[in-house]
Amino acid sequence: MKKAIIIALVLVLSVFVITGCAKKNAGPIKIGVAGPQSGDLASYGIPTAKAAQIVVDEVNAAGGVLGRQIELVVEDDVCKPEVATNTASKLVGEGVVGVIGHICSGATKAAMGTYNESKIPAISPSATNPALTQSGDYPNFFRTIASDDAQARTEVDFVLDTLGLTKIAVLHDKGDYGKGLAEFAKSFLEADSRAEVVLFEGITPGAVDYSAVINKIKSSGAQAVIFGGYHPEASKIVGQMKKRKMDVVFVSDDGVKDDTFIKVAGEYAEGVYASGPKDTAANPLAKKYEKAHQDKFGEDPGPFYQNAVAATLAMINAIKVAGSTDYDAVTNALRTSLVDTPLGKIKFDDRGDAIGVGFAMYQVQNGVYVELK
């Protein structure tokens, strides 16, 4: 009798276990979306939630993935590191298998530890801080945007390899963006035995003229100037260099890759090089998702929208290729399986940066920026 009860109990329990398992397998796959949904920076986070929704709706309409529907869990981190850790715990508690986000670099760093402990991969569409991938602390972190130093890398490689120039002056406007970029460029140049940094200077934005700095560039014997900053200073420097009949190549960043630069610098802009994000407007998938956004929300998509579409597509593709939601299988699929996205065909390198996403060099030719292949 006692035996019978035990057997009955075991049977009942095993039924629970089986149904429990079955229930887990039959239910939707949960994917978290984390980023600012309110507050000052909400405009950076909301487009990502919309992008994920559009992609997930499309996948679900086509029957889902691994025969299961996908459910999004959107959480607000207000772009604040202290809130982001709670957001991450909440998503882990919800049982998500992957996260699209976070949006801001600081919040992303704060949240990654929690995901790492719970073995959940995260793909950010916008966190550009170099350490996120380069430190090696976050093996579960991926991103569909180039890191901050990628732009400097592109410029330095272009000057050294394509133009073959070696004596380089690095200037910046002392701002966060310009100085950060210039410092990366300087460190890359110093690490390269071919290059010589002949001048590293900050200029004062808005000064009435830059003739003293220009004299300095001239006497330093620089063949090229790499400038980190924005177009008003760039056009002054370029104009004054050309007026002084100096034959120095001017290379700058996407703060200068702006039509206003060409308009203001006029004829002096001709021949200037600038790096900028690769042009993806012609990509058919980018067009498709832009239209999907228009149809659904009746407006143009916001910042990082296409990056977020790419992140969501990559996550779903990885689950599909892995055939499960297992952490190792999914991260392996992210690193090995090419996926077609609005940013082109991408996969991720060992550190988590998307291969093929990044910057291209542009040159002003006949009054327009032309991408150099």
Binding site: V208, A212, N215, K245
Partner: protein
């Protein structure tokens, strides 16, 4: 470093100084006469540059000689800025003539903000290209790497303006009235000088020189927006204080000293600290000569 580098920096600093001087004159003249720091003066400089831009763009369609365009747009910019200067004085400062000096100062800051935002709304917040109106002079060919033709035009124009201004103040009735008002406004009034007229003339002259500065520096840098007056105005104000505010030769000297400090500081040390050099120099001068290089010492200050 070598001598030609030194000369380049010297001339670059002098060009900068000339621009500062044209703006600083307005500060120092107004201060000399009504003891008011006219913070909206930088905006007059910006309005001069904008006027010249608009007129030269229109004239550009006629295919006129660029020097002629520069002269016409410069002259019209002077009239326009002078009108603004005089109107500003009537609206913002004249009603406060008897009020505490702080009230007039706040009125000046308000005027500065108003003019900036007025241009922002009426024109555009973007940077606009300023046409290169000063051609490359053939005779400068041998030294073009040291001195550009724009710099030459700036230096020569500033020198001419200085000479004219000195003549005006030293040898004309108006100049005499200005000097008298500056020394003692009440006494000058008792002696039959119309000080309201003198003050208006001061504003007109100050605004005219600022407009010349605006036109010249815009053709030098090739761009402008509604905000250029602010930084230039602050620097010129520093130059005026450096030379001794209220003193006309002092403003010119202070401007050149400031221009050279910035230029040599950048050239021989680092441009990261361009403003730091300028302000350290100002501090040192003010420690040893509190009223500026050429300023008269005043012991009756509060």
């Amino acid at each position: 470093m070598d001598l030609s580098y030194f000369f380049e920096l010297f001339l670059g600093g002098m060009t900068r100084g000339s621009i500062y001087a044209l703006i600083a004159l307005g500060y120092t003249m107004v201060y000399g006469i009504i003891k008011l720091i006219n913070f909206a003066h930088g905006e007059i400089y910006m309005i001069g540059a904008f006027t010249a831009l608009i007129i030269s763009s229109v004239l550009g369609f006629t295919g006129m000689n660029s020097i002629l365009i520069l002269v016409i747009s410069g002259v019209l910019a002077i009239f326009f800025s002078a009108a603004y200067g005089a109107t500003m004085e009537k609206i913002a400062y004249k009603p406060l003539r008897q009020a505490p000096r702080l009230s007039a100062l706040i009125s000046a800051i308000g005027m500065s903000m108003f003019l900036q935002n007025y241009v922002l709304l009426a024109q555009t917040p973007d940077f606009l290209p300023f046409p290169a109106l000063i051609p490359d002079f053939k005779f400068l060919k041998p030294i073009e790497k040291i001195l550009s033709s724009t710099q030459l035009v700036i230096l020569v124009t500033t020198a001419v303006v200085m000479i004219l201004l000195t003549i005006l103040i030293k040898f004309t009735r108006t100049g005499k009235a200005m000097r008298a008002t500056s020394q003692d406004a009440k006494m000058a009034q008792l002696l039959g000088i119309n000080i309201n007229r003198v003050i208006t003339i001061t504003f007109i002259i100050g605004s005219a020189t600022a407009a010349i500065g605006g036109v010249l520096i815009s053709s030098h840098t090739g761009q402008l927006n509604y905000y250029i007056g602010f930084i230039a105005g602050i620097k010129a104000f520093v130059a005026a204080v450096l030379g001794g505010i209220g003193s006309i030769p002092g403003a010119v000297l202070g401007s050149f000293v400031l221009g050279w400090t910035e230029s040599f500081g950048t050239g021989y040390v680092s441009s990261d600290y361009e403003d730091v050099f300028a302000f350290i120099f100002l501090l040192i001068i003010l420690i040893f000569r509190p009223s500026g290089i050429l300023g008269r010492s005043q012991n009756d200050k509060v």
